[in-house]
């Protein structure tokens, strides 16, 4: 019995998506990816360093036969920049998937909704499979779905903050109201329980980077996250008990000795 995550018709057995940044070494990143069980990795687009061409290439450490590569528009503060970046990424990799970030502010890295919507519309029109990062805002999410986004990816908390879900209410509402495309929590996961809690709400997947790459033992945390996502998903599907104010005995009341 499979319980796959399906995005734009493509099936993923793992509901965990990882970023590739902030690892101390490429080798550590590679081992963390393996430990996490992920099947999709996001990468950023940057200028080639012309003076130091001896640098190893990130993609030498991400096996495209094993991982679906998801280019992103990290660091873009306008729709135009994001679109240019997406076009470059598609050309470089012959891959029309894009994790779309259009940022509005350097400290919070919260998205610029206007730019995000514009970029989504234009990129969808250009044939991209667009996975936008957004605030936990139902109205924006709906507009992105209408614009043709292949998923919506609300943040749990600011990128890299490790705060975990800050607004359960919004996320629950989003989960209930957004049914047409997968809902993937992206950003702000700090430790395993954050991921489990999100999955227990019924979201379809989790995207994280810093929570693993910045952990003391990244490979161990990657493994933890693998189990965390799975545990949350299984618990969600199993149907939890109701919360009650008072006790409800687990053993029968008849037949006690006296």
């Amino acid at each position: 019995m499979t319980d796959s995550l399906i995005i734009a018709g493509r099936e993923f057995r793992s509901r965990l998506i990882l970023g590739s940044g902030k690892y101390e070494t490429f080798d550590l990143m590679k081992r963390s990816l393996e430990a996490s069980g992920t099947e999709m990795v996001t990468v950023a687009v940057r200028r080639v360093n012309l003076t130091d061409k001896s640098k190893e290439s990130l993609l030498d450490y991400i096996d495209p036969a094993r991982y679906h590569i998801l280019p992103n528009t990290a660091g873009c503060y306008s729709a135009d920049e994001a679109i240019r970046t997406a076009m470059l990424a598609r050309e470089a990799l012959d891959n029309n998937w894009i994790k779309l970030e259009v940022l509005g502010d350097e400290r919070t890295l919260f998205p610029d909704n206007q730019g995000l919507l514009e970029a989504t519309r234009r990129l969808v029109h250009e044939g991209f499979i667009v996975l936008p990062y957004l605030n936990d805002d139902l109205i924006v999410a709906r507009r992105l779905v209408d614009a043709g986004a292949a998923a919506v990816m609300p943040l749990a908390a600011p990128i890299g903050s490790g705060l975990g879900i800050q607004n359960f209410t919004n996320l629950r509402i989003l989960r209930e109201q957004i049914r047409e495309v997968p809902l993937i929590v992206d950003a702000g996961v700090g430790t395993a329980s954050d991921a489990t809690l999100a999955m227990e709400l019924g979201v379809d997947g989790i995207l994280m980077n810093t929570g693993i790459a910045g952990a003391r033992d990244a490979v161990a945390m990657a493994e933890a996250m693998k189990h965390a996502v799975l545990a949350g998903r299984l618990a969600f599907k199993a149907g939890r008990i109701q919360k009650k104010l008072y006790a409800s005995a687990s053993s029968p009341s008849e037949g006690t000795i006296s």
């Binding site: 990882l18 061409k53 050309e91 470089a92």
Partner: protein, 70 residues
């Protein structure tokens, strides 16, 4: 002629095309993308696209990143 590559001024012989520029820079063409004056240039056009005085070239590749660096 003078062109700008990734923000740095570079001198080239007139008529150098993009493929030639990559050779001069010692870059392998795989997993790269190139813009000239903010316009994407398809890989298939690298041998036929000549560069001119004042052109701004961007050569990009992929680096580690999850979301924008906080």
């Amino acid at each position: 002629m003078n062109i700008t590559v990734n923000g740095e001024e570079t001198r080239l012989i007139e008529g150098t095309h993009i493929a030639g520029l990559l050779e001069i820079l010692g870059l392998k063409p795989e997993r790269l993308a190139i813009e000239v004056n903010r316009r994407l240039v398809r890989r298939s056009e690298w041998v036929s696209t000549g560069l001119g005085e004042g052109d701004k070239v961007e050569i990009v590749h992929f680096v580690g990143g999850g979301e924008s660096d906080a």
